[in-house]
Symmetry: C2
Amino acid sequence: LIQVKDLFKIYEFGDIQIPALNGVSLSIEAGEFVAIMGSSGSGKSTFMNILGCLDVPTRGSYFLSGNAIGSMSRDALAQLRNQQIGFVFQGFNLLARTSALENVELPLIYGPTPARERHHLAKEALVSVGLSGREDHHPNQLSGGQQQRVAIARALVNHPSIILADEPTGNLDTKTSLEIMQLLTQLNEEQKITIILVTHEQDISTFTRRVIQFKDGLVLQDRLQHPK
Amino acid sequence: LIQVKDLFKIYEFGDIQIPALNGVSLSIEAGEFVAIMGSSGSGKSTFMNILGCLDVPTRGSYFLSGNAIGSMSRDALAQLRNQQIGFVFQGFNLLARTSALENVELPLIYGPTPARERHHLAKEALVSVGLSGREDHHPNQLSGGQQQRVAIARALVNHPSIILADEPTGNLDTKTSLEIMQLLTQLNEEQKITIILVTHEQDISTFTRRVIQFKDGLVLQDRLQHPK
Ligand SMILES: Nc1ncnc2c1ncn2[C@@H]1O[C@H](COP(=O)(O)OP(=O)(O)OP(=O)(O)O)[C@@H](O)[C@H]1O
Ligand SMILES: Nc1ncnc2c1ncn2[C@@H]1O[C@H](COP(=O)(O)OP(=O)(O)OP(=O)(O)O)[C@@H](O)[C@H]1O
Ligand SMILES: [Mg+2]
Ligand SMILES: [Mg+2]
């Protein structure tokens, strides 16, 4: 499903170079449940942005569902992304001037879904993350963890085949984190959705079946495990 | 040092009322190291914003260093806040168009510190959170955890007597979180700085000597402990 080869992302900063990704090669099969861990600045979000077709590597190749991402047009890429991928951003990236419900509906706006069905799907997604009753709140009328859950709901509403979640429980208490991980586990086991999540918490990584460890833009370790 | 009595914060939302704080009374002595925990939406950030003189309660009183915060002028409040309090926001609140160094200098801009000394103090603060070499980066050229550490450095640069930190390790890996907690412990033990931090991670709360548990806008539990 996902195949990256010799992936590099090098930022030019004045006259120095910062290798955010320094040669990453790996593949992820459909239906996997993967955790990406590693220290701050080790390249996890950079990697996720490339997987999510939101950024391009400096060098290297990325194949998604057999498509050579590097050679696709912007429109074709936007369509593939919208249809296949749900993204939970590390910084949430919610629209400040629209309600939680409208934020969650956003991925459906460009598709064929009629307005009434969109509202219903968005409402359902908010209920699944424990936010029923908060549909009309704007982001600044929500707590940090509530904003994070709006971002999660938005990633789910389009029923994507791949969920990329960058620190989805970073602002959530233990009990709420558990509910989110149970939701993701259910989506992975029942609907075979491929889930790749970045986390720095050991307790969260135990829900997955594979842990990829990043360090200085490289894969340090890649091991399978039994989820708890 | 800090004394709140019958603190209420009630948001009017259309025709319903949301009690973010529903009657909180507690006091915190100078030099304490306190953790605030509780589920998402339980009122922690609302409480922190009132302590930090960034928000006003609907009802109730707040005394800081003997000052009745509710009856102070805006200018007097801004000065007290600038001199006494360092705040790490849950959402970082960095200025997007300025460098990490300039972001960290911000609390010093309104004071008597000359420019050269400001640069030096800001640089020092960035080194203390492990970000030397990143001074000229803008926030969007930094990883999530690096942005979080810029926010932490900014809260320290003014050598405040109180540090209010809302989820300061939410985006940090275990090793970096440990370094930050060791830094805060050092500031508390050596410089007697009062530290109040919101966290949802048990491992982080063990560094503190008191844990206050919030639930539905109320204090559920308030207990002392030996830090590990
Ligand atoms: N402007 C507002 N209007 C209406 N409700 C609000 C507003 N701001 C906050 N709230 C509500 O107040 C409650 C408490 O919010 P607060 O941010 O203090 O929670 P928190 O404990 O910090 O949560 P988290 O752990 O998710 O950060 C939440 O239910 C939130 O939805
Ligand atoms: N636009 C940019 N210009 C220069 N350097 C950048 C830019 N964007 C990111 N970086 C650097 O690339 C490195 C990797 O960043 P990335 O966001 O992938 O880290 P991360 O593993 O997600 O970290 P965290 O756990 O803190 O979120 C960091 O050292 C960061 O400073
Ligand atoms: Mg990141
Ligand atoms: Mg909060």
